[in-house]
Subunit: 467 residues, 4 copies
Amino acid sequence: MHAKESIHSNCGVVGIYGHKDASQLTYLCLFALQHRGQESAGIVSSDGKNFNHLKKRGLVSDIFSDPNTFNKLPGYIAIGHNRYSTTGGDIEANVQPLVMNLKEGPIAISHNGNLVDSSILRAELMDRGSIFQTTTDNEILIHLIARSKKESFSEKVKEAVTKVKGAYTLVIANRNELTAVRDPKGFRPLCIGRKEGAYIFASESCALDLINAKYIRDVKPGEMIVVNEDGFHSEMIFPEEKKAYCIFEYIYFSRPDSKIFGDNVDKTRRRLGKNLATEKPAEGDIVISVPDSSNTAALGYARTSDIKFEIGLIRNHYIGRTFIHPIQKQRDFSVRIKFNPVEGVIKDKRVILIEDSIVRGTTLKKLVNLIKNAGAKEIHVRISSPPIISPCYYGMDFPTKSELIANNKSVEEIRMHMKVDSLEYLTQDGLLKSVENGDNHYCTACFTGEYPVEIKESFSKGQYEED
Amino acid sequence: MHAKESIHSNCGVVGIYGHKDASQLTYLCLFALQHRGQESAGIVSSDGKNFNHLKKRGLVSDIFSDPNTFNKLPGYIAIGHNRYSTTGGDIEANVQPLVMNLKEGPIAISHNGNLVDSSILRAELMDRGSIFQTTTDNEILIHLIARSKKESFSEKVKEAVTKVKGAYTLVIANRNELTAVRDPKGFRPLCIGRKEGAYIFASESCALDLINAKYIRDVKPGEMIVVNEDGFHSEMIFPEEKKAYCIFEYIYFSRPDSKIFGDNVDKTRRRLGKNLATEKPAEGDIVISVPDSSNTAALGYARTSDIKFEIGLIRNHYIGRTFIHPIQKQRDFSVRIKFNPVEGVIKDKRVILIEDSIVRGTTLKKLVNLIKNAGAKEIHVRISSPPIISPCYYGMDFPTKSELIANNKSVEEIRMHMKVDSLEYLTQDGLLKSVENGDNHYCTACFTGEYPVEIKESFSKGQYEED
Amino acid sequence: MHAKESIHSNCGVVGIYGHKDASQLTYLCLFALQHRGQESAGIVSSDGKNFNHLKKRGLVSDIFSDPNTFNKLPGYIAIGHNRYSTTGGDIEANVQPLVMNLKEGPIAISHNGNLVDSSILRAELMDRGSIFQTTTDNEILIHLIARSKKESFSEKVKEAVTKVKGAYTLVIANRNELTAVRDPKGFRPLCIGRKEGAYIFASESCALDLINAKYIRDVKPGEMIVVNEDGFHSEMIFPEEKKAYCIFEYIYFSRPDSKIFGDNVDKTRRRLGKNLATEKPAEGDIVISVPDSSNTAALGYARTSDIKFEIGLIRNHYIGRTFIHPIQKQRDFSVRIKFNPVEGVIKDKRVILIEDSIVRGTTLKKLVNLIKNAGAKEIHVRISSPPIISPCYYGMDFPTKSELIANNKSVEEIRMHMKVDSLEYLTQDGLLKSVENGDNHYCTACFTGEYPVEIKESFSKGQYEED
Amino acid sequence: MHAKESIHSNCGVVGIYGHKDASQLTYLCLFALQHRGQESAGIVSSDGKNFNHLKKRGLVSDIFSDPNTFNKLPGYIAIGHNRYSTTGGDIEANVQPLVMNLKEGPIAISHNGNLVDSSILRAELMDRGSIFQTTTDNEILIHLIARSKKESFSEKVKEAVTKVKGAYTLVIANRNELTAVRDPKGFRPLCIGRKEGAYIFASESCALDLINAKYIRDVKPGEMIVVNEDGFHSEMIFPEEKKAYCIFEYIYFSRPDSKIFGDNVDKTRRRLGKNLATEKPAEGDIVISVPDSSNTAALGYARTSDIKFEIGLIRNHYIGRTFIHPIQKQRDFSVRIKFNPVEGVIKDKRVILIEDSIVRGTTLKKLVNLIKNAGAKEIHVRISSPPIISPCYYGMDFPTKSELIANNKSVEEIRMHMKVDSLEYLTQDGLLKSVENGDNHYCTACFTGEYPVEIKESFSKGQYEED
C-alpha cells in the first residue's frame, strides 16, 4: 500500500441546506468551482434519514452526466467537493466528500486546506486503535469527532477542530444538519449565499452566481456555523488572532469573476498589473498575456504603460486530462499543445509577456521559445507577483523548496536561463499595495518563508515522503 | 431506420504520406483542428498492405487516450477526420474516415463540405443495386469509384468527382497512395505541409504548426494531388472557374492562428473589427467581446474607436459535450453556464459588445440579459459580419431559412428583441473590404442568398427532412 | 484489413412474425439456442416502418441484460441470430443478423450454414462494383437481392438463392414480411411453431418449448415460406433432390431436448449408445460419460451392457469465454479447469468412458490422463460415432483434414496415443441404424469424405486461408 | 445509507503462503470454489512490504480476465474470497477480503461463516469511537485486532477471536504472515494443502485438486495456524468442545468431488440417496434428479431401488446473474428457463424425482408442473434430507422461519401443495446414518431447531431487519 503521509491540495467545497434540489445546486456550484480541482469530485446528500453519494475521478460534468443521477441523490442537504490533484496512493478511497458511519449515524466532510500536524495526530489515533481508510487530512477530523465524548454533534466538531492546526475550511453534513467551519487565520475563502430560503456555502462567489443565489457574506475566520431545522447558528469558536488569507488565491487560483476575502479578484488582479507596470516598466510594442490566468493583469499593465494589449497566444481548451504525447522527442511540445503563438501579432514585435508567477520555470521557458520562433524581436517578461521561494503548507500544491527556480537562482540568472531580454517581478511591497490591509491580513509565506502557523520540524521533512 | 437524406457539416480533414509516425502526426493534427468538429473523430492508417482504423464519437484526446493506440495504427500513410455535428440517424456508421473494401482493396475517405446533389445521386446508385451503409455524402463518392471502369485508381477518383457537385475537400487513402482533391470553387480550405520528407494535407495551417511541419501552399481549387512511391503529382482536373471561398471561415470558423485562403485569420478578423468601428461607431466606456471567437474583432474595434478593451465575460471551458441542465426553469441558464459577467468590469459602464454573427439570436439575447443584470448602464451590440439571411448548402451547419432571425426581422426589430440600446452589423461592403479580392473570390451566399453552385429545387426542399 | 475469404460456422437462427412481444420472444429463443453459438448474438425488429437492432459479441443473457432493451426493439416482426465462432477478421461487422438498406428499405438476414461457392460469387459481385462490408456468406445473398430486377421481394429472394449453393437456412425480415428458406438438401434444421397467432421459426424445437409455443412442423428442404399481412405462404422453390441432413446435429450439436429432422435428439443419441454397446462391448465396472454432451449415449451404453452408470467427471460451468490460464506450464490444465474426476467413483475401477466424437484428440488425451491419476484401474474409451476423417463444408466448424486425428492414425494408433486399454468407434452402419431412413437422408461427409454438394477444387483449398 | 445489521452467508476462502505465483494460484482456487459464492470475489497479495488487491462484484473468471492482472498482484502471500449473496446495502465496500490499515501495517481478512453476536459487539466498538466501513462480520474482528494491546500479531488475533462467538473460518494476511483460524465447533470446512513448498488453505479440497496441490489435512476446530518465515505453527487456542460440522455442506453446498470433514462429498451424498431408497421406496418406472446437485443422490436411490436412472431434465448453464424475464406473465417461466424436461424420457412414465432439499418450495412446485406437462403419468418426489424448519445462524443463507414451507405445512400438506402423487423426506436418523459419527459431530439445527451456539433473543429477532 503506497501512500503519502498526507495528501493535501487546494480544493473547492460546497454545502447546501434547505433546498429540495440540494444535490443539483451543489453540482452546479462544483461546476463553477471546477478550476479549484479537476482530479475528482463528489456529492453527498441527505434527506434527513439516509445518505447517498456519488464520488468519482474526473470532471464534474463527466461525473454527473447521467440525467438520473440526481434522483439517486435526494434530500434537502448536500455537500460537494472538487479535488485538485494527488500524487500517489490508493486514490479512489481519498475522493471527497469523505463519508463515514459513526455511532450517531453517517457524516460527510468536505475539506479545503491542509492540517499542519496531521502525521503526528494520525499516529496518536492509530496507537489508540483507530483504523484509517484514507490518507486525507479530514479522516483525522472524523476520528476526532467519533472519539469525542461531547453530547451534541456541534460540540464534538468544536472539540475536534480545536485539536488540529493549519488551514481548513470545512463543510460537514450529518443526517439533518449542515456545519461550516473556517480556521482562525482564514487561509482559504468560504462564502455564504442564499437562494429560495436555502443556505449555500461555497469556496468562491462565482458558484453563487451560477445558481442565481445571493451573496451574503464570508464565513469569518474562526467561525463555526450550524444550520438545522432550528435555523442558522453562528459561533466564534476561537479567540481572535492575526489573519492569514492566502494571497495566491488573488494572484492565480481564484476565478476573476469571484469575490473573495471581501474584494473582487478581477480588480485585485488588475491592480497587480498596474503596480507591476509602475514598478517595472518595459520598452515594447505590445503587451500579451499567458492566457487565461494572466489576462487581467496584462490588461492592467497595458493600460498603465499605454502599450497595446494583444492576443498573442491562442490557448487550446480541448486538452483533456489524459492527453498523450506520442512523439516525446518533439521540442517544446508539451507547451505547444497548449498554446499556439499568433504569428501575425508577434512577428517583428518587441513583446512584453505578462505571467502571474513562476514556479519551476519549465513551462515559461518553452513558451518564450515558441514566441521567439514566431518572430518576436525582443521578449520582456513581467511577473505579477514576487519570486516564489518557499513551499506552501496550507494547501497550495507547490513543489519542494529545491524545485522552486527562484530559490536557486537570482532574477538575473532566471532571465539568462529563460533567454529573454528582460525579466522583472512585482515586489513584495507592490503585492501588498494591491490588496486591502495588505500588511496585516495575508499569508505570503511562499514569497517570504515566514509561516503564520508553525511547522514542526519532523513534519516538514516527512510530508512529501512515502512511508 | 431513421436517417436524414444527407448529413453534412463543416469538418476537419488530415492526410499524411511518407512518415513512420503517420497516425500519431494525424492525431496531433486532428487535435489542432478539434474546433472544426467535436462530434466524432477517426484515423485510418495503411502500411502498404493492411488498413487499420480507430473511429469513435467523442473528442480527439479522449478517443486516442490509450498510449498503445498507435501501435494498432501502423504505417506510413494515415488520414483523419473531425466531425462537427449530426442531427439524427445511425450515427456510429457515419463516423469518418469512411472505410470500404473495393475489389482492388480497401479505401478510406475523409470529406469536408457538402455535395449539393447527393439525394439524386444516391437514388440513382441504389436503383442500380448499390447498398449504402451510411447517410454521408462521401459514401456516394466511394460507390462512384467502385463502379468506375477506369483502370488506375486516380482515374477512378477523377471520374467520380466529375459526377458530383458542391463543396468538397477530400483526402483519400488506398493501400499505397494518398489523394487530395479540392472542388473547383474551393469552398473549404486545404493546405499542404512538409515534415521530414513526408507530405501533410490539413484543413488549416494550425495543424502544421503543432507538428512543426512547414507550410508549403494551399491545394488549389480544382486540383487533384496524388502522392505515392513515385512522388507528388498535381493535376488540375477541372476547367478554371470563379472561386467561392467560404468567407465565414474567416469570420468565425477557422482558428485565429491559422492561415487559410492565403491570409492570416487573425489579421482578417481584426480588419473586420476595424472596419466595423469605422462603419458603425458607438458611444461607450468599454469594448468587450463574446469570448473567444470575437476577441480579435473586439480588439480591432477598440483600437480603431480608441475605447478601452476589457475582459467582461469569463468563459467556462469545462463544459463537456454531455453537460446536463438539471434545473431547466432557471432563466438564461444555458448561457450563464458558459459565460459569467465580471461585475467589477461591467457595473455602471456603457458596454460595447462585439459578436461575430447572429444566427437565431437566442444565445445573444440571454447574454445581453446577463450583462444588464451585472449592472451595465447601456449595451451597444456590434456584429462583425452582415445579417445572415440564407442557409448554407456547402457545409456550414446553419438552420433553415425560417429560423434565421435576420430573415424574419429588420435590424431595428432585432435590436428591440434583444433589448439593447443599439445594434449594428458590418455591411457587405465592409466585409468584402476586409479580405483580399473580396469581390471575386468569396462565397457570401449566407448574407446574400446568391449561391455560386445551383441548388436544384427538389433537393433544397428535401434535404432537411426525414425520409 | 485482415479477413478470411469466408467465415462460416454452425449457428442458431430465429424469426417471429405477428407478436407484439416479437423481440422479447426472439431473445428467449436465442437463449434456448445459446449452445449453437456463444460468440455473438443479435436481434433486429421491425414495426412495419422502422428497423431497430441490437447486435454484440457475448452471451445472449449478457447482451440483453438491460430491462429497457426491448423498448428499443419494438415491432411485431423480429429475427435473431447466435454465432458460433470466428477465427479472425473485423468481427464486429460480421455479427448477425446483417442489416442493410436496399432501395426498397432495410432488410435483415440471419443465416445458418455455409455457401460452398462464396469466394467466386463474391469476386463476381465486386467486379461489378458491389462493396462488401463483411466477410459473411449472407452479405452475398443481400447483394444478389439488391441487384435482382424482379419486382416483388419474395421473387428477388428466390432469384438470389438459386444463384448460390451449399447449406443454408435463412430467416429474412423486411419492413413487413418474414421469409424463411431452407436449402434443397436440408443440411441444417429449421422448425415452425405457433404461439398466440404468431409464427415462429427456430433452428431447434427447444426454442419453441421455452416460449411455450406449439411445434407445427419443420420447414421442408427447398421450401420458401413468406409470412405477411396476407398470411402464411409456402412454396417449394427447388426441384426435389436427395436429402443431406447433418447427422452430426444428432451426435453432438443439437440439444437433447430438441426435436430435429423429425426425431427426438435424446432418443437418437440413446440409440447411438445402445448400438455402440452391441457393436463394441467392453469389460468394465462402471460407465461414465464426458458431460454433458455424451450423457445420454452413456446411459444407453450402460443399459444395454448392464454395467453401472456413474457420474465420474464433474464439469465446471463457470468457465467464461475469457478464462485465462495464468500458469501455462501446468500439465493437463486446460482440461482440468473444465472437468474434475470424482476420485471416490473412479478409484480402482475399470472405467468405460463414453465420448460422442474425437476431432483432434487433444482434450480426450488429457482427460484420460486425469482419470488415470484419479486411480482408474483400466480405461476403455467408446465413441458414439465413426472416426472423423474429412472437414465439413456445410457449417460445422471442424479443422482442416490434416488436423483430424483419425485422418492420420489408425484406431489402434489412436488408442496407443491416448494410452488407454481399449478404444472403439461406432461403425458407419451402426450410425445409420440409429436414425430413420439412415441410408438416404443424411450427410455423413465428415465420416466418409463423400460430399453431397460438390466443392470446387480452388475453393476447397482457399477457404481456410487468409487473403 | 441502507444497511443490514449484519450480512452473512456461506462463502469460499483461500490463503496461500510461500509461492511466487501466490495470487494466480489463489485465483484458480477461487475459481474451483465458485459454487460457494457468485456475488463477488477478491484477492489480496503481499510481497512482504506492500499490499495489492483486486476486488469486485461478478464471477471469478470475469473479474480476473485481464492477463496483466497478476502482475499487479505480486508477492508470495495471497488470500482470496468468494461471496455468496447479499440482500442490501452499500455492497462494494463489503466485498472481501477486507483490507484495513492498522498501526503495524495493512491486514486483510477472508471470512466464511457468521458471528452470532455481531450487532452487540459492533455497538460496543462504536461506543468507544471505532468507525465501521462495512456491514460485514469480519470488520468487527479487525477492530478487535486493532484495539488489542498484545504485542505480537498472532496474540492480537487470538485475543480478538476469543471475544466473538459463532461460525468462522478465517484466513488473515499481514505483510509477512498468513494466519488461518477455525472456530471451536468447526461449522465450516477448511483444509490444508501443499504445493512446491507452499502452504494452501481452502474451503474445499477441490481447490487443491485444480492447482495440483496435495491435500494434507483439515484445519482442526479451534486451531490457529500461523505460517511465516519461521515455518508452520499450529496452536489449539480453545478448550475442546463438541463439534458442529454443518451437515448441509454434504447435502447440497459443497462440490461432489470435494473431501470435507474427512469424507468424500460424493460418497456421502450417494449414501443419502441409498438410505432414502431404503426408508422411502417408491413405485416408479424411472428415477430422475434435479440437476446437478441431486445427481449423486438420485444415482444412489436408483441403484438401491433397482429402478432406471434417467436424465429427464436438461439444465441450461448459460443463465448469467443478470438474466431478465421480459415476459413476466409466462407461467413457470423462472423454472423453465433453467430446466427443460426431456419429453421422450418422461412421457407416460411414473417418475421418481430426487431433490436434495425443499426451502420455500416455489421452484419445486413449478418444476413438478413442467414434468407433468411433459407427460409424466405419476410423480413421486423424494428428498434426500429431512424437512427444513429453522433458519441457520451460522452462515447458510436460509430465509426466515415463516418462509420455510416445512415450518408451516405437514408433509402431506406439502404434497398436496406440490400436486404430486407422493412426497417423502429422509429421516433425521437416516441423515445421521449417512455420515461418520453422525450423533456427535454435526450441526443439524436447520432440521431440529437445536442450535449448538446459543443465539441471544434480541439478536435473533433483529438480525434480518434494517436498522
